[in-house]
């Protein structure tokens, strides 16, 4: 790039150089976004009517509201097929090229994601926050305290479950099949996974919701945070294996110390996402109010300003839990450093 600039390349020319350089990454990102959107549930449910729905909302309608198992199964298979075809291209074409080169350049810092999300989404609700009577009305809501508590617990639990699942994943890696599964799966269907939990009668309280959310977040978190870093230490893991180290030994001496930052960052993101969750709660535990369930109820009764105030609360709380996870990681790292010193 510097060379091109020195040789007086025009802005347009530089732009095309960047595009050609990033084309694999852009393709990867667009496929990931496609597969995530394909199974997205909450936003189409809130914004769209049932007449103009997505496959995921249609699945919800058929499976939960109409209890039509045969049609649900066909929709589910169709959804799997579409995501599967895209996953195939995702694995076959750009990912292998990137892996061959052994360096994954996303072009943006995942660490900035929570901050960007917070600021981007907090901007509009803030306009309503300055209208003090909305804030006062929200503070006077009798169910607010319980909703705050539940959201905090759900967020914390989901982060903890995600951390545990990711720890388990890096314990079992390198494992070709597991790696392929996590890389190819866009995100499991919210409705289908929720229905599975209902089928096994695992649906009371926040615990099943948090576990289900952690499972939903797992492939995305792995792809975004863990896989690039894990790939960088893969050769070290091979060296350790050749030196006779077993899984547990490698996990505690090699992987964990070098991936702890990414693990806690991913767990924090999962906690942040969980703070904005309401779709799974409606499926699994509709009697448990959280801030976003409250926001949805207020939205339903056209109290838009109050609903947005609650959304800001929810984002702030999610951000707080994200920060808590980073703090725990920082303290743990400092402790282990002082031990080594």
């Amino acid at each position: 790039m510097e060379l091109a600039a020195i040789e007086s390349a025009s802005r347009w020319r530089l732009f095309w150089i960047i595009i050609r350089y990033l084309k694999n990454d852009l393709f990867l990102l667009s496929l990931t976004i496609f597969s995530v959107c394909m199974t997205s549930f909450s936003i189409p449910l809130v914004l769209g009517h049932f007449e103009q729905n997505t496959l995921e909302v249609l699945l919800y309608q058929k499976l939960i509201l109409e209890n039509n198992l045969s049609q649900s199964a066909i929709i589910f298979l169709l959804q799997l097929l579409v995501v599967g075809v895209f996953s195939f291209f995702f694995l076959q074409f750009p990912l292998q090229k990137v892996a061959k080169k052994q360096h994954l350049t996303l072009g943006w810092k995942p660490a900035l994601l929570p901050l960007i999300t917070l600021y981007a989404w907090a901007f509009f609700p803030l306009i309503f926050l300055v209208r003090s009577h909305s804030l006062q009305q929200v503070l006077a809501l009798p169910e607010l305290r319980r909703a705050l508590q539940n959201t905090f617990h759900l967020s914390l639990l989901t982060g903890a479950f995600s951390l545990a699942l990711l720890l388990l994943v890096i314990f079992y890696l390198p494992q070709r099949k597991l790696e392929r599964l996590l890389l190819s799966l866009g995100s499991p269907s919210t409705t289908a996974l929720g229905f599975l939990f209902i089928l096994f009668q695992f649906r009371q309280g926040l615990l099943p919701v948090a576990l289900c959310l952690a499972l939903l977040h797992l492939p995305t978190l792995f792809r975004m945070y863990l896989w690039p870093q894990w790939h960088q230490i893969l050769q070290q893991i091979y060296v350790a294996q050749l030196q006779g180290a077993h899984r547990g030994f490698i996990w505690s001496y090699i992987s964990l110390p070098q991936l702890s930052k990414e693990l806690f960052r991913a767990a924090g993101i999962s906690a942040l996402w969980a703070s904005g969750e309401f779709a799974l709660l409606l499926l699994l535990s509709p009697q448990t109010p959280t801030l976003n369930v409250l926001a949805q109820q207020l939205l339903g009764s056209y109290r838009l300003d109050q609903s947005l105030v609650i959304t800001v609360f929810s984002l702030a709380l999610g951000g707080g839990v994200w920060f808590l996870f980073q703090l725990v990681e920082y303290v743990t790292r400092q402790k282990s450093l002082s031990k080594m010193g």
Partner: protein, 211 residues
């Protein structure tokens, strides 16, 4: 003598065809050839890092190719060294001893001898990322040998150090390998490495060994 049989692998534009290869189980054998000849593919296949279902590697009556990585009892120094950056030089060196539970007095004596021979005693307490290229290379050699491997692999071990230091590095490595009597396969494209270290030379071109 160890025997490598049926080392066949095929990629889109390259194939590896080594039906029969006898590697001496003493001294340093060199696998020498130009870039793109297939040296690294042979190295990775023998280590078990690349899948090669047809491969057999008979050593001391056992087919090492069929064993999982942790049971092969091999030592390896990659071109990129792959030291553990979050550990000190000593922690790196002790890693294989801890992993293989080598805690006898003899093991610690051997470790001290190797460390002395490679002249890295003063570096032990330093974090490896603070060491120079040559120092890191010596730590990697020590780490590969203290685990008492039955076979040592060196993949272009001198490529990351300055020309001035290469001569000294070669003689240190030769000395310490002779001391531990570990059979070694040196993978290199540099004729000077071969001249200075190898007791047996195998040349590879286009994925085939030249006889």
């Amino acid at each position: 003598m160890s025997l490598v049989k049926n080392l066949y692998r095929k990629w889109d534009d390259f194939s590896l065809e080594i039906p029969h290869w006898e590697i001496p189980d003493e001294g340093i054998s060199a696998l020498w050839g130009p870039s793109g000849a297939g040296k690294t593919s042979v190295f990775r296949s023998l280590l078990g890092l690349e899948p090669c279902p047809t491969l057999q590697w008979i050593f001391h009556g056992q087919d090492i190719a069929k064993l999982p990585l942790a049971k092969k009892n091999l030592g390896v120094v990659f071109q990129s060294l792959e030291l553990f950056p979050h550990l000190t030089a000593e922690e790196n060196i002790l890693f294989p001893m801890q992993a293989r539970k080598l805690n006898s007095e003899h093991s610690f004596q051997l470790k001290n001898t190797i460390v002395n021979e490679l002249q890295i005693t003063k570096l032990l307490s330093k974090m490896v990322h603070k060491l120079s290229g040559g120092e890191q290379q010596r730590v990697a050699i020590a780490r590969a040998l203290v685990g008492q491997p039955q076979f040592l692999f060196l993949d272009e071990p001198f490529s990351s150090i300055d020309e001035d230091l290469k001569k000294e590095a070669r003689s240190l490595v030769a000395k310490v390998i002779q001391l531990t009597k570990t059979p070694t396969l040196l993978i290199t494209h540099d004729q000077r490495d071969v001249d200075a270290l190898a007791s047996h030379v195998f040349q590879i071109r286009n994925g085939k060994l030249l006889l």
